[in-house]
Symmetry: C2
Subunit: 540 residues, 2 copies
């Protein structure tokens, strides 16, 4: 296990890099470990940056998990910030580094090298893109700049409704700013299926975020001391501050220059032990392409969890190849909160499965996040997708105010285990009134999938239009009156058997309720009485 | 799928019985379904009873998920409350029922019979046990009686510190009563390992519950208009109201009388389809013994989740044996909250594994329930137990103020999937600052298990006493000063490498910190420098 004087150089001092250095030191007190970081900070909490801008995380120092000094003291690592790696000589096993702003190159010898350069926010070459009011968010410096600019801003435009865009929109609203959120696609969170983002869109609108969906950015122009963001179709949004959060690209230039193999989208290709095409050069974090754990296909997941675990796995293989365990690939689990609503996802979405031509089925169910009779129950919508032939779970998405993270974590675990959707029916999850239900919404998804397989459940994803279909809302009269379903007749479930004569057997029926459960019960009654009935799937 | 006029009789109208009736009706509109319930209520929320007593659930009606009338109307089921089943003639396939207080027997024919009689609170034949101030809690009537008695009580004794006992102790404190919680074992929650209940005990004490652990009850006596509870060893507790919550016994008398096979502890034995020894008689819920999903051994889990799913599974097999899926057995997942602290468990505890002689290993880890830099992070302790030879996860327990349910549900899923403890290291759980950490405490458990296997991590479960061992607390000086570890020297981790000379290489060292993580880092430094060092395991 001991490798006296093994020389390890780590390029990049945040999630993957710092994890690698820490694990390497735990495995070997003797190794010489040098950590090179271009920026002034190491081991900071990228994911917390939006929350300091909005003030939810008050102390800037809270985001610095370590200073260069404390990291160096704790790990006995040579930490060099403000230093960039400019060239790798893999034949001589050395890497050239240079202090920012200086000319002198210094060559560092390595036995094992980790590349953890991360990914940069995209900044497409649009007209006016160099306006200093247009910002991106990657590090503490970017955060400081946005926070300073926001302090004197009134109107903010956030371009891109992914994780960072949503978090920034929320935080800017907390600061009292006028916020417009622009997204190229016709939905928030393009990673998810559009229908599953409906609750999130309502929540943002309710909290005063102006949504501008389906609009590409064509360019920017300085206008009266502000920026005019020109959208496709002629519309424009004027803002004192623009945050661009349309995605990231891997910082793989150094790797490319060194001749390491890159993936189709420019990521550094690695094997299960995080080795690049040069076995003494490892790579981890946002810049690498690993494999998708569900399908085995190439996959890059630029998120903190995979970065940390990859950095750790790389160190294990550098120092202890005989016991090192491979990184099994990524699933793509993620979550974001905006105001009270959380959206979570794991594995593949329906639209991604469709795009890849993978045959799948799905159910969307809805129930309270804990026992409905206990105060504070909030509805939660869960979609589960599985492989048609085998039932193997391929993905899941959830939306709600409470308990979204829990259900996504259960599904992420089920996916990692290769469970089938039917297995969800009998998961024995923790139940006491403040925490869950005797039949959790995860169980309901499994039961619904079995009912689908058995031909008991037939759903439509949305309300049909036109007169061809009879729409029967089976909620109690008061609920129907408060929020009537368009073009529906209200026949509460408990009265349905006695009122079958009011319905036309020659026309199909779609049943509707609040959660998508009672409408299933109603459809069962109708079908067994000779009607052609389907129920409306739960809606986020 | 249709079984015209199939006659189904269901005995018991709460969790398992109501689930069975509802599922049966969805599978067949034509079946004749009769639901027999001894009490006045059906389909009520047993698990909510304590919360109505304390007022947390204000409305009594919220606990009635259905009235007999609404259940009957919704399901088209003949609901007969206040009626008990007194005899089964399984040759003639009929069951005798009688209205409470009446003599007349009525014989109901059945094609399929479900027994869902539940379990009764234990009421051991101790001296004075018949005192009307000594109550048990099973149904709405019991709840009303306790609520009424509590209204004029000042002192309450709760006997038994399981789920209901803990919930009652909390609720009585909410009502401002003096509460003594008596438990035969030397710990709260006897289902869990003692060490994992320490935080819960502190929380109860902090909230004014007097704990009386390791005390058996020897009898009760009327005294000055109150009850004196006599404890083993001579102590006594005087209370105006006593709630007995020391466990339940299956209500299997009818099944026994009918000659159905019972288990060792009096439960009704069932197969995977919930059939008893008579294949037309099914049983489900608290009265049955199913199998343990981890070990395949007989297991009875008297909880709402299994009851609901068993009732549903029984109905599926009654009406649709060709597509019915077996109930896979129970894992024993449970959770309880008292004040701010939740304790959760799934699978087997260490003491149960020890008692059965099963070779296992375990780790106990601790970390914040979400990113430490995001406001509101609460420490959470997680213990995972696995089979020594295979790594297969056998059980888990957690304690904390937030996120306990989520980790237990992840572990319950991992157990159901047959995952190994190493698999936990690479679970890809949802991470954003309000929800988790880049390395979740579940991941840490997996990593710790791997470190244990690799000989990197060596732990002691508790602080050693005596001078033989050097105790080194590696927390920062301020943390140490605020809460010093007895007999420890404080050497903060970052200074350890420079202060090795202060330690004696000839004596073993135990390292200590707040979460059990830094102390592991310290032990790694020490071991690699020739010391014999172990770290103190995380403590709940």
């Amino acid at each position: 296990m001991n490798h006296p004087r093994l020389k390890i150089v780590v390029i990049g001092g945040v999630a993957a890099g710092a994890s690698c250095a820490a694990r390497a030191r735990r495995l070997s007190e003797d190794a010489s470990i040098t950590l090179i970081e271009r920026g002034p900070d190491v081991s900071f909490a990228n994911c917390g940056l939006p929350y300091h801008i909005g003030g939810e995380i008050e102390s800037r120092n809270a985001l610095k998990l370590h200073t260069p000094q404390s990291l160096s003291a704790m790990l006995g690592v040579n930490v060099r910030t403000g230093t960039e790696a400019v060239e790798i000589d893999h034949t001589a096993k050395r890497v050239a580094v240079r202090r920012l702003g200086e000319e002198t190159l210094e060559w560092l010898d390595y036995d094992k090298l980790l590349l953890a350069p991360g990914a940069s926010p995209l900044r497409p070459p649009l007209p006016g893109i160099d306006n200093p009011r247009i910002r991106t968010l990657r590090n503490l410096g970017d955060m400081d700049a946005i926070k300073a600019a926001a302090a004197s801003a009134r109107r903010v435009a956030v371009i891109g409704a992914g994780f960072i865009g949503l978090e920034m929109a929320e935080q800017f609203r907390h600061m009292g700013l006028e916020v417009t959120l622009v997204e190229l696609q016709m939905q928030l969170l393009p990673q998810m299926d559009a229908e599953m983002t409906a609750q999130l869109a309502r929540e943002l609108t309710k909290n005063g975020v102006r949504l501008c969906l389906g609009k590409g950015i064509e360019g920017f122009a300085e206008k009266d001391g502000a920026v005019e963001c020109r959208l496709a179709g002629g519309e424009s949004v004027t803002a004192d501050l623009v945050v661009l959060s349309i995605g990231v690209k891997p910082d793989s230039a150094l790797a490319a220059k060194a001749g390491l193999t890159l993936g189709k989208r420019g990521h550094i290709l690695v094997n299960g032990f995080l080795q690049t095409s040069d076995p003494d050069i490892y790579a981890a974090g946002d810049a690498v392409e690993s494999v998708d754990r569900v399908t085995g296909k190439p996959s890059a997941v630029p998120l903190g969890g995979p970065a940390n675990r990859q950095g750790r796995a790389a160190a294990s293989h550098m120092l202890s190849p005989e016991t090192a365990r491979p990184y099994p690939g990524s699933i793509g689990t993620a979550i974001v909160r905006a105001f009270k609503v959380a959206c979570g996802m794991t594995g593949w979405s329906a639209k991604r499965l469709q795009a890849e031509g993978i045959a799948f089925q799905s159910v969307t169910v809805k129930d309270n996040h804990h026992a409905g009779y206990y105060p504070g129950a909030k509805p939660l919508t869960l979609r589960v997708l599985w492989e048609e032939k085998t039932g193997k779970i391929l993905g899941a998405q959830a939306s709600g105010e409470e308990g979204v993270d829990k259900r996504i974590d259960v599904l992420a675990t089920a996916i990692a285990a290769g469970m089938t959707v039917g297995d969800l029916a009998n998961l024995e999850l923790s139940y006491a009134p403040p925490f869950g239900s005797a039949k959790d919404v995860v169980n309901l998804a499994g039961m619904a999938a079995e009912n689908l397989a058995d031909g008991l459940l037939e759903q439509v994803p949305e309300l049909p239009t036109g007169d061809a279909t009879q729409i029967v809302d089976v909620r109690p009269p008061a609920a129907f009156a408060a929020n009537p379903t368009p073009h529906a007749v209200n026949i509460p479930l408990a009265t349905l058997r006695g009122r079958l004569g009011e319905l036309d057997k020659s026309r199909p029926i779609v049943t509707v309720c609040a959660m998508g459960k009672t409408s299933y019960f109603a459809a069962r009654i109708l079908k067994q009485n000779g009607f052609s009935a389907k129920s409306l799937s739960a809606q986020a």
